[in-house]
Each structure stands twice: as C-alpha cells, then as structure tokens.
C-alpha cells in the first residue's frame, strides 16, 4: 500500500503564516479593486478589469489552500501561485510595451509597482515556501 504523502510541514505555520497574511491582504485588495472597477465603469478597460478579477480569484485560492493545507491544498496552491507568477510577469511586461492594452491599471501592472512590487515578490516567496514544504 503506497504511503500517503503529506506536506512535510503545515502550510500555514512558520513563514507560511506570514504568507497567509500577505496573500490575504492581496486577496482583499484585488477583490476590492475589481469590485470598484467593474461596479463603476466596466466598459472602460475590459481586459485590465477581468485581469484584476483573475488576480483576486488566484489570491483567494492561494490563501485558502495555504490555510487548508494537506496534499491537495499544497498542489492547488502550487498551480495558483505558478499562474500568478506567469500573470504578473506577462502583465507587467505588457503594461510597459503595449500601454494601449491597459487604459486602466490592474494589480499586476508595471510588476505591481502600485503595491510596492509585492505582487512580484509574493509568488516567488510562495513557490519557495511550497518547495520547502514539499511532500516528496
């Protein structure tokens, strides 16, 4: 019978707790931002606003998975954080080279400049933490 592999350490303890706090903050910030943007003038910048919404969902998923922990939580958190990293890198680059695509800002514009570049640091910290707590 194969041994059930569990993450080697609870995801929400130690440095994980700092991550939960940071991800929680960004979940609130991104949700708030997309709610305001979509509530006030959704047609102004549909791409930027839908990306804000995607970011909000990713931050929420990552926060929840870190809190829940376990094998599935670890794996889903990994997927969410990876997408988040790709998102911040691609949106960050696009917001510099294709400014006309983004008439309004997203959380990830200019690599998260409006948020002290934390959106760029956060997925890297998240991946490092997931690697540290790897079940394998």
């Amino acid at each position: 019978m194969p041994e059930r592999r569990q993450p080697s350490q609870a995801l929400s303890q130690g440095w994980g707790r700092a991550l939960v706090f940071a991800y929680g903050l960004f979940a609130v910030a991104a949700t708030g931002r997309s709610a305001v943007q979509l509530g006030m003038d959704p047609d102004k910048a549909p791409l930027a606003y839908s990306l804000s919404l995607v970011a909000a969902v990713l931050y929420l998923v990552a926060t929840t998975c870190l809190l829940l922990g376990g094998n599935t939580g670890w794996r889903v958190a990994g997927i969410a954080v990876t997408i988040e990293l790709l998102g911040v890198l691609s949106v960050g680059t696009l917001s510099y080279v294709a400014t006309d695509l983004f008439p309004d800002k997203t959380v990830w514009s200019h690599f998260g400049q409006g948020y002290g570049f934390l959106p760029l640091v956060l997925p890297l910290a998240g991946l490092a933490w997931l690697r540290h707590t790897s079940p394998a």
């Binding site: 303890q13 130690g14 707790r17 700092a18 939960v20 706090f21 708030g32 305001v36």
Partner: protein, 121 residues
C-alpha cells in the same frame, strides 16, 4: 478630513516600522513595545474612521465615498489581524507580519489622502 490625522498615522506607522526592522535584523520576535505601538496606531485608526465618516457626511464634494470608507475600515482591521498572527508566531516571522501590516496601513494612508483629494480610486 483633517490633514493632521494622516500625519499622525504616518509618523506612528513610520516609527513602528523602524523599530520592527531593527528587531528583524536582530532576529527577535515581536516585543511588548511593538504591541503597545500597534495599540496606539489602532487608536489613531479608530479616530480616523470616525473623523473620516463625519467629514465625508459633511462634505459637498463628489468623492468616491465607498472606496474611502473601505480604506478606513481596512486600516482599522489590519493591525488587529496582524497582531493575532504575530502572537501565534513568536519569532522573526511574527515581526515580519507586523512590519507587513504597518506598511499596509501606511500605504492605505497615502491612498486615503489621494481619494480625499479626488485623485481617483
């Protein structure tokens, strides 16, 4: 809203941030003095929430009121959540959490200033 409130909030947050960075470098857990400082910050946030809502009700200008109030409420909650998480993690992790929280409060103070001045959400 009274500009002094932003100033007081930013100074308290700034002093706390310096203390926290010093203890972070020394690899120390959050100290009692940090929590006292956080309590002071919390009182400022409470005064600011009341003052902000009153000022918003009195002003004739067209402001993004919902955003303004949501920032005020968030700033009231962040130090509390950070304090609880830091108490659960008595190491430099807790100190880091408090630093993140204080930085968030300072950042939102700047945003509050912008929104009150009518410079967008």
């Amino acid at each position: 809203m009274n500009p002094w409130l932003y100033g007081v909030a930013l100074v308290v947050a700034g002093v706390l941030a310096v203390l926290l960075v010093v203890d972070l470098v020394r690899d120390r857990a959050a100290q009692d003095s940090h929590f006292v400082g956080l309590a002071v910050l919390e009182v400022v946030m409470l005064v600011q929430l009341v003052g902000g809502v009153v000022a918003l009700a009195r002003t004739e200008r067209d402001l993004e009121g919902a955003v303004f109030v949501s920032y005020l409420v968030t700033n009231l909650l962040v130090p509390i959540v950070a304090a609880f998480l830091a108490l659960a993690e008595r190491s430099r992790v807790g100190t880091t959490i408090l630093l993140l929280g204080v930085a968030t409060v300072a950042g939102l103070e700047v945003r509050l200033w912008d929104v009150w001045g009518g410079r967008g959400a």
